[in-house]
């Protein structure tokens, strides 16, 4: 196709407006990195047990499972939706696995059951939101009750145990020295979602939808299909987390993972993802997960009860969103 050259010599635009260093220095991820390092140093000072490799390894358990869900949730939130039912999916998947154990299933089948239930729940959410166009926040509040409710119907206030020994490998196993299986899974999932969000056309579609669903549709993106897949992925990750958690605990109750959905959302928002959609990066969420892990571990070493820790997390969440806004206002006042 012959498009005319403009009168002056064609100027190709530069690719980037600022250099790599300038872009990195002012990014959210850099801020998070600094926060992470600071907390690390504070923890080092506060307790002599902090730097023990086995302690550090133990500490990872308190965030790896949630982080796996957070990566999928991050993509969902970037696209402008949310899934508050993830903790209930864990409960239901775990219950299904416990049920399978009673039927004599072996480890491979258990894993399939866990992941499969996660996928099914995700598909249910996806159907309601993507196909019927219902608002995800209330739909997932509904499925949050429904999924956990089904778990309660099946199990009541009992617990399943009797998982095969090989099953424990996921949540309790070590790959090498202090590196746990869960840490490896965490890294793999982080990598996979990082690539998916930042390097594929699917990821671009997610950003487009989160910024402007109408324009995205008009640009040829199959918006309902993308959203459906995102809910599937979130469900799948919840299923994976269920496998890890159940394997780690060695038993199942319908009340496991209560409140996890809020921690996962906190991790995502702390990671710099805009709750309204359209922006955010996966490395940010990785750093946020590590920060929350460090905080939990550090407070734990100082024998601070979990509930007080959550005050800190709540304050951190609000401060982290408020500070840039207040900072900008201070700057414009001074002008």
């Amino acid at each position: 196709m012959n498009i005319p050259e403009p009168a002056s010599a064609p100027r190709a635009l530069p690719d980037r407006s600022r250099g790599w260093l300038a872009r990195s220095a002012t990014s959210w991820e850099t801020l998070l990195l600094l926060v992470a390092i600071t907390i690390f140093l504070i923890n080092m000072q506060a307790s002599p047990y902090f730097l023990d490799p086995w302690n550090l390894s133990d500490a990872t358990f308190n965030f790896t499972e949630k982080a796996m869900i957070a990566f999928a949730m991050a993509m969902l939130i970037v696209a402008g939706e949310i899934d508050l039912s993830v903790a209930s999916i864990i409960a239901l998947a775990s219950t299904a696995m416990g049920f399978a154990v009673q039927l004599g299933a072996g480890t491979p089948v258990l894993v399939l059951v866990g992941l499969g239930v996660g996928l099914l729940c995700g598909a249910f959410n996806g159907l309601l939101v993507a196909r019927f166009g219902l608002p995800s926040i209330v739909v997932t509040i509904g499925t949050l009750s429904l999924f956990r409710g089904i778990a309660y119907i099946v199990l009541g206030d009992q617990a399943y145990s009797g998982y095969p020994e090989s099953f424990a490998w996921f949540g309790q196993g070590y790959v090498f020295w202090v590196i746990t299986v869960e840490m490896v899974l965490f890294a793999l999932v982080a990598l996979a979602f990082g690539v998916l969000l930042h390097k594929t056309s699917f990821g671009r579609a997610v950003y487009a939808i989160g910024n402007n669903p109408t324009a995205a549709l008009f640009s040829g993106i199959r918006v309902p299909r993308v959203k459906f897949v995102l809910f599937l992925l979130t469900g799948l990750m919840a299923g994976l987390a269920a496998v890890c958690l159940t394997s780690r605990l060695g038993s199942t109750r319908p009340s496991i993972a209560v409140g996890w959905e809020l921690e996962v959302v906190t991790m995502v928002v702390l990671g710099g993802v805009n709750i309204l959609g359209g922006s955010g990066t996966l490395p940010g969420v990785v750093l946020a997960a590590i920060i929350m892990g460090l905080v939990t571990f550090g407070f734990g070493l100082m024998n601070v009860p979990g509930i007080v820790m959550s005050i800190f997390v709540g304050l951190l969440l609000i401060a982290v969103i408020a500070l840039p806004v207040l900072g900008r206002r201070l700057v414009s006042l001074r002008r």
Binding site: I3, D15, K199, R204, Y207, A208, T214, A215, S219
Partner: protein, 506 residues
């Protein structure tokens, strides 16, 4: 241009030397306007002439950079729409700016409802007052009816009742009859007479000449953000108004085509929608530019969006390259080579939060990626190529599109579609709200696209553009196709008459 003195009347509201600019566009250039009590002033002009900017200044949404606004001779300064309302200026828009889930009475009195001695809203007094106001304007509406349940005509009446309730002195009506039936239009005219008798100064914006000559006393014509003329209605006629609106001669500014038309590439027959359009039929050849003209609300964009797969038609057949296209979504249309550049640039065309490269490459990502993984280098290369050819002005390819001027945003949208190598490209009001320089660039571009074998459909409300750019023009009115012209032999008047239905039995 000076206003003809009419006795020694004093204007109620005066705008003098008002200018307003936005990034890249000068929306208003030193315009003046006077509104007289008890008189209707018609404001006429094409899309993009600056009328809506003027309304926004009058209602306090924008504030001009130059010039001033006076009421009863006193300078005013509005810092919010509330101030304008306090000063007695209200507007009735095409889309009502009211609350669907509140009742008629509440809509009339929201923000200033009558209170009883406990400080609570006195519902009975409110409904009584509302009934009185409604009666005064001849509206037989139930004050307790929910606004959502009413038709657009009734909503306008509620807006007018609200204007009366805040003792508005200036009433702006922006294309109020766009969605009304004939009977409702007559009722509106009577209402305007009532308002005139009340001493209100009315600014009436309309494209419809029969209306203007029926109810207006004065006129002002805007063209390209400037005042093109004003005066008394009694001393002018529709042809003169059209000339003032259109102004410059049509041929000079537009690039001429090569004249080579290829084979028929698109065929549309009996295309209908339950509520938006009916029996649209046309064919399109390679190398051709087909213009679609009509008044605002005629259904052109709706028809194009339906072709593009955004909405579902109820009947009809669309063929591209001889094979039927049944687009269930834009993705389907794009796959067959039909692309659409929307009128709403920021809302539907470009994703303002994403960078230039992200926007330009978006529909083409399939081709740029191997097994889903994007080759970043190729993405940038694609964006670089097409933005250079369109002469895009931006700081860099990673600049967010929202920071660019209107003209450049439009270039980004066009670039993104060109990168998909389409067969048919539909451009909906492509130069709306764009500065002259970019307009010319877009026009030159369109002509080159056509000469190169693309089939182009252009929806436009600017007569010079429609006649100057297209080979043929189809006119839509109220969802129906009413005329087809060959551009070089058509006159602006003929277009306007067809679009407004001037020659039909009223």
């Amino acid at each position: 241009m000076s206003l003809e003195p009419h006795g020694d009347e004093k204007p109620l509201l005066t705008l003098a030397g008002v200018s307003k600019s936005f990034p890249g566009v000068r929306a208003l250039s030193s315009v003046s306007l006077s509104l007289f009590p008890g008189q209707v002033t018609a404001l006429v002009g094409e899309n993009g002439a600056g009328k809506s900017t003027l309304v926004k200044i009058l209602t306090g949404i924008y504030w001009p950079e130059e010039g001033h606004l006076s009421i009863d001779g006193e300078r005013q300064s509005f810092s919010s729409p509330h101030d304008a309302a306090q000063a007695g200026i209200t507007a009735i828009h095409q889309e009502t700016v009211l609350f669907d889930d509140l009742s008629v009475a509440e809509n009339i009195f929201i923000g200033h409802a009558p209170r009883n001695r406990f400080g609570l809203i006195d519902g009975r007094a409110m409904r009584r007052e509302a009934a009185r106001l409604l009666e005064r304007i001849g509206a037989s509406l139930d004050p307790t009816a929910r606004l959502r349940d009413l038709g657009i005509a009734s909503k306008h009446l509620v807006a007018i009742a609200r204007a009366l309730s805040i003792d508005a002195r200036v009433v702006i009506m922006d294309e109020p009859t766009a969605a009304l039936s004939h009977k409702e239009i007559e009722e509106l005219y009577e209402l305007v007479e009532t308002l005139k008798a009340d001493g209100k100064a009315i600014l009436f914006i309309s494209h419809k000449f029969d209306e203007i000559f029926r109810i207006a006393d004065r006129y002002t014509v805007f063209r390209d953000g400037e005042m093109a003329g004003s005066g008394l209605i009694a001393e002018t006629d529709s042809s003169s108004l059209v000339t003032l609106m259109v102004g410059r001669s049509v041929e000079s500014v537009f690039p001429a085509g090569s004249g080579h038309l290829g084979e028929t590439v698109m065929q549309v027959t009996g295309y209908s929608h339950p509520t938006e359009f009916e029996n649209i039929a046309f064919s399109l050849r390679r190398g051709e530019i087909l213009g679609f003209y009509g008044l605002v609300g005629a259904g052109r964009s709706e028809c194009m969006q339906s072709l593009f797969g955004v909405s579902r038609p109820s009947a009809g057949r669309v063929e591209i390259d001889g094979r039927e296209l049944a687009a269930a979504s834009p993705a389907d249309a794009i796959a067959r080579g039909l692309v659409y550049v929307p009128e709403d640039r920021g809302g539907q065309g470009a994703i303002t939060g994403l960078p230039v490269v992200g926007n330009v490459a978006l529909p083409s990502l399939g081709g740029l990626s191997k097994r889903g993984f994007i080759a970043m280098a190729r993405e940038f290369a694609l964006a670089r190529e097409y933005t250079a050819r369109l002469d895009l002005r931006a700081a860099a390819l990673d600049q967010p599109v929202g920071q660019l001027s209107g003209g450049n945003q439009q270039k980004v949208v066009i670039a993104k579609w060109l990168a998909t190598r389409p067969t048919v490209i539909i451009l909906d009001e492509p130069t709306k709200g764009i500065d002259i320089g970019s307009k010319a660039a877009v026009h030159a571009f369109m002509r080159e696209l056509a000469d190169d074998g693309l089939a182009v459909i252009m929806v436009s409300s600017e007569i010079p553009e429609v006649l100057g750019m297209s080979d043929r023009v189809i006119v839509l009115r109220e969802g129906r196709q009413v005329a087809e012209f060959i551009s070089e032999a058509a006159s602006p008047e003929a277009l306007v008459r067809a679009a407004a239905g001037i020659d039909e039995a009223a």
